[in-house]
Assembly symmetry: C2
Homo-oligomer: 453 residues x 2
Amino acid sequence: MKVVKFGGSSLSSGEQVKKVLQIVVSDIERKIVVVSAPGKRFASDTKVTDLLIQLGEYFLQEKDVSELFGKIIERYESLAEELHLSSNIVNRIRKDLLCLLERDRSNPERYLEAIKASGEDNNAKLIAAYFRNEGIEAHYINPKDAGLLVTDEYGNAQVLPHSYENLSNLRHQPGILVFPGFFGYTEKGEVATFSRSGSDITGSILAHAVNASMYENFTDVDGVFSVNPHIVSNPKGIRELTYREMRELSYAGFSVFHDEALIPAFRAGIPVNVKNTNNPLAPGTLIVNKRTNQNGPVVGIASDNGFCSIYVSKYLMNREIGFGSRLLGIIEENGLSYEHTPSGIDDISIILRQNQLTSNIEEEVINRIKTELNADEVIVEHDLALIMVVGEGMRHNVGTTARASSALAKVGVNIEMINQGSSEVSMMFGVKEADERKAVQALYEEFFVTVPV
Amino acid sequence: MKVVKFGGSSLSSGEQVKKVLQIVVSDIERKIVVVSAPGKRFASDTKVTDLLIQLGEYFLQEKDVSELFGKIIERYESLAEELHLSSNIVNRIRKDLLCLLERDRSNPERYLEAIKASGEDNNAKLIAAYFRNEGIEAHYINPKDAGLLVTDEYGNAQVLPHSYENLSNLRHQPGILVFPGFFGYTEKGEVATFSRSGSDITGSILAHAVNASMYENFTDVDGVFSVNPHIVSNPKGIRELTYREMRELSYAGFSVFHDEALIPAFRAGIPVNVKNTNNPLAPGTLIVNKRTNQNGPVVGIASDNGFCSIYVSKYLMNREIGFGSRLLGIIEENGLSYEHTPSGIDDISIILRQNQLTSNIEEEVINRIKTELNADEVIVEHDLALIMVVGEGMRHNVGTTARASSALAKVGVNIEMINQGSSEVSMMFGVKEADERKAVQALYEEFFVTVPV
C-alpha cells in the first residue's frame, strides 16, 4: 500500500488533476491520496491558500472581500469545468466558505485556521468527486472522522500519538481515499494547521499509520539535484539517498522537504519517493534508511552563507576544566544559537548564523569572553559560507578529503574551517562567502564530472 | 638581562658544570642562573632528586638510610672534587641534609618537600662556590630571602602574585645570581615544590619578574625536533616556533616543556631559547609570541594515541535546543573529560582519552545517551590516534589541507576525523592507531622532505 501526496502545482488546473488521476490508477498500490490546495498555474499566479489567508484577514478587518471571494471560487469553478464536474460541487464549496467566514471571530488565530485549511479540504472533496465521475471508487476522508488529532499549536500543530492507531483503520476502507493535507483537529474539535509544507507532514503521518510500503511525494521536479542548479547548470539528479544524507543536504540550501515533515515516515522506516507529476515515468529520488547501491562517495553538495565565526584562544585552555561550557553559556545568554564548535588545543571557534549578531551583541559577547574567561584573543570573522559535501559512501573511502581539498586548492579557495565527525556522512568546509560559488563548482566538477558516476 | 636555566643532565658531573660556567660567562647578559639538582651521568644512573625522595621515605619508614645517604653525599663529593672545591662545601651539605632528616615528621608530605628540594638548593650553593672559586662574582640566592612565595599545594605549588615584585629586586644585585629551581616558600615559611619540570617553572617566573630579554633553557638536545625521532629518524630541528605552536605540539607527544612551565614567561612576552649545554653554539629552538620568518606552512607534526570517539546521531538533532549540553552533561556526570566535539548536522562525536572509559562506564554512557536523549545511533570507536599538523603559516596557505590529506590517501590511511578551527595554527587528523606511524611518516615526507624548507 502506498501513500501518494500531490503538491499544489500538481493540482493547479484540470489538466494537472487529470495527470494525477492517471498516476493514481496506474499503480494498484496507490490507495491513499493526500492533496494540497490548488497552487500556481503560472509564475505570477497566486496560490489558493494565500488567497484564503488574505480573505480571512480582510474579513477580520471588515474590508470588502467580494473580489477576493470571487477569485477563490473562480479557481474551483475553472477546475470543475475543466474536469466536467457538475456545478453542485462548486456551490457546496461556496456555501462552506461563507459559513467559515461567519464563524466566531473572538480568537482571530483560531478563526483563520479553518479558512486556511479549507483550500486543502475543498480540493480533496473536488478531486474525490472527479475520480468518482471517472468511474473510480474514491472517497473524501474527513481528518476529524479519521481521527487525525493534533495539538492546539495553531500553525505549528503536532500530531498526537493516538492518531496513528485511529488512522491505521484507513487500511480497511474500500476504494481510493482522498485525504486533505495540511491540517488536523484538536481534541476540542477545532481545525489546527501544520507548519510549512503541511501536506508533506500529513502524507508522512498517514504513511506511518497505515505502514505504507512507500510514501510517494509528487512535485514538479524530476527529483533532488546533486547541487544547487543556480550554482551549477544542469546538475545531475540523485537517484537514491538516505534520510541522513537528505538532512545534511537540506541543512545548507536544499529545501526538498521541511525538516520535520519526514519524521513520522523516517521513524517507521518507510521509503520516500520524490517524483514529478509532469514526468511520472522518471524514477525520481528515493529516500531510504540505508542505501544499497553506491555510485561514488559523494551524493550531493550543498552550501549556505551568512555565517560567522567567533574564534577564542587562550593559552592552556585545554587544561581549564569547564572553559567550553562557560563559553557556550555566554553565547546562549546572549540569545545566540550556534551551529558548530570546532576546536584546537587552546582555541575553539563558534560558528553561528550572523544575522543573530548585531554589533551591540557582538561587542557584548567579545567583552564578556575577554573579561570573564580571560581569553588571549577573540576574533569575529564575518561572511562565511559553509559547504556540505555529503555521502554515506565517504565513510570508508580513503582520499575523499584529499580530493575535496585539492579541488578547492586548485581554484585558489582557502579553507577557513573543516568539521568532519567520525560519521563521515558529510564533510563541512568553511570558506569566505566570496568564494562560495567557485568552491561549490570546483567540488561538483571533482565528484560529479571528472569521474563519471 | 637573561635568565638561564640548566637541567639535571647539564649539572650531573664536574665536566658538565664546567661547560655551564663557560656558557654563563660567554654572554654578559646571562645574569640569573637557575639550577636543577644533579641528574643522570649515564643511562642507568639515578637522579639526585629521586635518591632524596627515597631517602625521606625510608627515614619515615624507619628503614636504614646509611647507604642511601652515602650515595647522595658521594654525588656532591665527586662534583666538588672534579671542580677542585674545598671539602667545606660538602660538609655543609651533609650537615644540612642531616638537619632536614631530623625535622618534624608529623606531616609526612610537608616533611618530604624540604628534603626533595634540597637537591636543587645544595647544588645552587655548590655551583655558586665553584663560580667564585673560578674568580667570578657569584651569589647563591635563597628563594625565601628573594621572596619567591607560593601556595601550600605541596608538589603542585602555585606562585603568589606578589612574588614578582619581590623577585624584581634581583635585577639590582651585583654579580651572577645562582638560584635553585623547583621550589618556593609558603607564607608560613615552609618549602613547597612545583610540579614536574619545576626548575623550568622557577626560570620562567624569574624571567617574568626581572623582565628578562630572554629565557634560555639549556638541556641535552639541540632543540625541538619537527617530529618524534622514534617515528622518523634524524628529523629536522625547529629553529623558531610560537608559544601556540609549541602548545599544540606538546599536546600530542611533544614533551619539550611541562605545559604550565612557560605561562609566566608567555604572559610577559619573553622569548624562550631551548639550547644544548653540550653544543652551545647551535642556535637551538626559539619560542616566541609571534614569528617573523616563515619557512613553510608546517613547523611540526605530533601524534598521540589511546583515544576513542563516541559517535551520536539523531534525526533533527540540530534543531533540538540543548541537545549538545545534555549530551556533554552525561559525559561529565560519568567523570569523563573530553578533548573535542566535531559535529555534523544531526551527529556529534565526542573524542576522549580511552583510558577513562571502562566497559562499565562505556555501557552506562551508551545507555543513558540512548534512553535519555533518544539517540538513533551511539557508536564507540576505540584505538584512535590524533595527529597534529602544526604551523602558524597554515592560516592563509591555500592547499595545506589538500597536501596533508593527499599524503595520507597516498599511503592508504583513512581519515576518521578532521578538526580544524578557524585559527589554522593546527590541523588535527584522527586515524586508527594502527595507521599512526605510517600517517606521521607520510606527513613528514610531504612537508619536510619533498619540498625543502
